[in-house]
């Protein structure tokens, strides 16, 4: 059991989401950075899709009511456990009564507090994710609040963390070749042209070439971009159709919207592109006011990136298990 002792709005329980219900209008939700969630779970020996706490407003603080292995992934939020530094991407064991505190991260947007056994809330429609729009799932379909107590699932023995802790090389380092960084600091987001790409004429070129800024009207539902407006050559009337996170829609004002984890399930704005799924986690870590540039990609590239990401998660799961066993044998 853990108790939330300090929080601001917008922090929720999330797992990998509830896909499979878009046809009845239910958004998939789930972690904005599912890669961080998977890596945290792999390190703790949890099931890959165990629920964690997604923290997007800081400071956030919780108290452990029993000895619990945990890890913070996603960002460095200068966490402390009873005042002692806790590194991000480094699993440790908290004693009963200890307080985990976090501060606003300098880079990135969302921290995942992963706990051995996972957050044990009742699954609704197959998932523990909070659906804020629908008001169900997670912790009563709402943001976490001070005083909330969350039960944890049964920890797997593979979750035993050595007394000195166990860290991983973070994905930005480990997969630096797979996720290149632009010299000017803009996030490079790979995308595939979508249905109405051709209708934007010369503006399509400007879509790919310019650097866009994430506007303050950006949240788990979607990111609004600001920059030089782009518009179709002639106005288009679209019929409502299903959409997925990553779709880049262009409303009449010409400032694109990227749908994110809490994406609407249907849309009707012209679509200029779709972000490849393996790059969505990086968008999930993009901050309001930061800049992005779209890079034209392909399915083949997406397949290669996914392969590298899945390989990394598997490597963490396998090697962390091996290190834990070796230390126990040598002790």
């Amino acid at each position: 059991m853990i108790e939330i002792t300090r929080t601001s709005p917008f922090n929720t329980v999330q797992d990998l989401g509830r896909p499979g219900f878009r046809h009845i209008g239910v958004t998939a939700s789930g972690a904005m950075d599912p890669f961080a969630l998977k890596l945290g779970n792999a390190l703790l020996g949890n099931d890959g899709g165990s629920a964690a706490i997604e923290v997007q407003t800081f400071p956030f603080q919780l108290r452990f009511s029993a000895s619990t292995a945990f890890v913070i992934t996603g960002v460095d939020c200068e966490a402390t456990l009873d005042g002692q530094t806790v590194l991000p991407w480094c699993a440790a064991t908290a004693d009963a009564g200890q307080v985990l505190d976090t501060a606003h991260p300098r880079h990135g947007a969302r921290a995942y507090v992963c706990l051995a056994g996972g957050v044990d809330v009742a699954a609704v429609m197959g998932s523990c994710s909070t659906s804020l729009r629908g008001g169900f799932g997670g912790n009563g379909g709402r943001f976490l609040a001070v005083g909330d107590r969350l039960a944890l699932g049964l920890a797997n023995r593979a979750g035993d963390i050595p007394p000195c802790g166990l860290a991983m090389v973070e994905p930005a380092v480990m997969l630096a070749d797979v996720f290149p960084v632009a010299p000017d600091g803009a996030l490079l987001v790979r995308a595939i042209p979508a249905g109405e790409h051709g209708l934007f004429g010369a503006d399509a070129e400007r879509f790919w070439n310019q650097t866009w800024k994430l506007s303050p009207q950006s949240d788990r539902t979607g990111y609004r971009l600001s920059g030089e407006p782009i518009r179709p050559v002639t106005p288009v009337e679209m019929r409502s159709h299903g959409i997925v996170p990553g779709v880049v829609q262009v409303p009449p004002a010409g400032q694109p919207i990227i749908q994110m984890a809490d994406a609407n399930t249907a849309g009707g704005y012209p679509k200029i592109a779709g972000v490849i799924e393996p790059d969505l986690w990086r968008l999930g870590q993009a901050r309001i006011g930061s800049t992005i540039r779209f890079v034209q990609s392909s399915h083949a590239e997406a397949v290669a990136i996914e392969k590298a990401m899945n390989g990394f998660v598997e490597d963490v799961r396998r090697t962390s298990g091996m290190v834990k066993r070796a230390l126990m044998a040598l002790a």
Binding site: Q84, T85, L87, P162, L166
Partner: protein, 131 residues
Amino acid sequence: MSKMDLSAPATIETLTAALEAAGVDGLEITRPGQSLRIVISGTAPAHTVSVSDTFQAKIVKAPMAGQFLCDLPAVPGCQTRKRPADTLGFLRVGPMLLPVKTETAACVHRYLVDHETIVGFGDPIAEITSQ
């Protein structure tokens, strides 16, 4: 010289100035009950000085085989992260980093292996001074 108080600020200042003038990187003096280490570096803080009055060397050994790292690998585009006070480095095994910690607050007196050296189980990694 044998009467010199190594912890006196005036002594440290004199020695530091002499080292800088000589273009020497650092100096280490160890005597029973006292030790002084001055490191000259190009960026602030200019001098890292650690003086301990009751010097007791202790060897930290590798808890398992791996590649020894003094610091966390640098993240492209981010500032280097400070390692916690009780962590003197990490053993890298594939994608994993095993923190090498000291039991109590201590400072690294001397690393016995270079950054990125492969070490075996039980190999000495560092000499620490506890107070």
